[in-house]
Amino acid sequence: MEHSKHIWRAALILLFLGTGFVGVRHFLIPKSFGQAGHYRYDSIFEYMAQEPNHGSRESCRKCHEEKFAETVKGRHAPVQCEVCHAPVSAHAKDDKKIADMPTNPNHKLCALCHQKLDSRPKGFPQVDLRRHLAGGGRTVAATIPDAACFECHSAHEPSPLRGER
């Protein structure tokens, strides 16, 4: 076995690396890991301690009753305010305004739900944005203006068309 020195050294290195891995692993695994499943149990309490960002429609209603009334009778009734607006935490804290509510009047926001897709249920209002905009005497635009949808539709009560009403 006098010619096997290199093998023993290689084996020793592997053993060292293996033990090192087991050791490092011991320190890297969080204490509460595996307590109630394959996850860090303490993370639940960390999430519970977080301040909620969203406040649901009811939190908006406290100050914006007229918008609330407009929305709930329209076809956007099932859509919560914070789906299109930012979470309430960006706007108010303890029922007091802390900043202007950021708005996003981009057509891409509307397209998230209304862009024509095969997989949407039939009867759901969906449009091919370019073709839709081409109606009313316009040509098919190369770029769609940001706030294009709001020229005709109200976000709070999108139908019937504003122009026809």
């Binding site: 010619h3 096997s4 290199h6 290689a10 394959h38 095969d118 997989s119």
Partner: protein
């Protein structure tokens, strides 16, 4: 589409989440497993004619192995979490097995390469000075014993490692097939044949890569292409290509013949959206043509000159490399093109060129393995320094023309 009963997708079943990176991952992993298996044909099964690629195959295997998980990291939204799969593996998930299989296989390949190159490492350590000496000496673990006894011991361990490596390589790539084969919700993937299909096509791509790399390296290094080596590689390549293609077709034929409900969408998919990449590239360009070409190489050996055989083998191997890539594409992307409703298609998938999971990054990752091989070759050459002569070895006289001339001259003498 409406009339054929196809045209409905689930609303939440629209996007293709696994893109080019997930196509590249099984492709590169296949090259790892394939090139290792070719190397083992020499190291374990003693196919002496494959000696010229014994080192190349190991280094190629390591090069591809290092970059095999990189596409996955590009795919992940949080790549730093990849270590969790090693630190807290959840063995009820098949993906957790990757950490263990990859690590074991990596150690085997690294050890085998170290033992095969140990003599060169020691020689370099003796010949160099300064930092290079330190570098080689550390690689040699500061023992310069390259006596016959120690080399014999090395050889024995190499054989054992290669013998363990073959099942490890099969598990590594079988596992990749298993990832797809075990997706119960997808009838195009969900078949126990999938690991076997992936394995045979992996070996095919590995051998094809050896045929291509070996010839390129010899050509540009001004060395002799050993005809027996190419011939033998072509023979193995032919065998595995036939096996791979047969299994790939068997899977489709089974689904088609059963005429079960999934065939409506899979049949439409294969003859419609995937017609070019499945029928055109995978079956005709990538399977039929190279199998005929390799058949010519194997069956008509006496009538082929060496350069002709090498060229045919080279072309067939290139086609097969494309075939295996097309097969990965058709399985990974094709399997996601239809909705889980089995009655409609998802949106078309077109990868970008310059995005995080785009074609540019995919190409760079693929090329990175070859850069690694070039750097490795710079420090530990895979082949001896350039031979004397003009590049025609003894074996070059086995072609039809040469032998006819030799026979003629013998007749004239007789």
């Amino acid at each position: 589409m409406e009339g054929s009963g196809v045209g409905f997708s689930y609303p939440n079943d629209l996007h293709i989440a696994w893109g080019v990176m997930i196509v590249l991952y099984p492709y590169v992993t296949g090259l790892v497993a394939g090139s290792f298996v070719v190397g083992s044909l020499y190291h374990v099964f003693g196919r002496q004619e494959l000696k010229p690629i014994s080192r190349l195959s190991l280094v190629a295997s390591l090069g591809f192995l290092i970059f095999a998980p990189v596409p996955l990291l590009f795919h992940l939204g949080q790549p730093m979490r990849c270590f969790n799969i090693m630190i807290t593996p959840n063995f009820s998930s098949a993906m957790a097995a990757f950490g263990v299989i990859y690590a074991v296989y990596f150690i085997i390949v690294l050890l085998e390469i170290w033992l095969v190159f140990r003599k060169d490492i020691v020689m370099n350590a003796r010949q160099n000075r300064g930092i290079l000496r330190w570098f080689y000496a550390s690689l040699a673990l500061w023992t310069y014993d390259v006596s016959d006894e120690s080399r014999k011991l090395d050889h024995k361990i190499v054989v054992v490692l290669a013998a363990i490596g073959i099942p490890a390589a099969c598990v590594l790539h079988g596992y990749v097939g298993f990832m797809f084969g075990s997706v119960k919700a997808n009838p195009y993937w969900s078949t126990p044949l999938m690991p076997v299909i992936f394995l045979t096509s992996a070996i095919t791509s590995g051998i094809a890569m050896m045929v291509v790399l070996y010839q390129i390296l010899m050509k540009f290094g001004g060395r002799t292409i050993e005809p027996d080596c190419v011939q033998s590689l072509c023979k193995w390549l032919w065998l595995f290509a036939i096996l791979a293609v047969t299994l790939e077709l068997l899977e489709i034929v089974c689904i088609a013949y059963e005429r079960s409900e999934e065939w409506v969408v899979i049949g439409t998919l294969l003859s419609g959206k995937l017609a070019f990449s499945f029928i055109g590239i995978q079956l005709v360009f990538g399977s039929l043509i190279p199998i005929i070409l390799l058949g010519i190489v194997v069956l008509m050996r006496p009538y082929l000159t060496n350069p002709l055989r090498n060229t045919i083998g080279f072309v067939a191997a290139l086609f097969l490399l494309v075939q295996v890539l097309a097969m990965r594409w058709n399985v990974v992307i094709g399997g996601q093109l239809f909705s889980k409703s089995l009655m409609g298609f998802r949106e078309a998938y077109q990868p970008g060129l310059f995005e995080k999971e785009g074609l540019g990054v995919a190409l760079l990752i693929f090329l990175a393995s070859f850069v690694f091989m070039a750097i490795f070759n710079r420090f530990l050459p895979m082949y001896e320094k350039k031979e004397n002569g003009n590049g025609t070895g003894d074996g070059a006289k086995t072609g039809f023309t040469e032998r006819r001339e030799a026979a003629k001259s013998e007749e004239a003498r007789g």
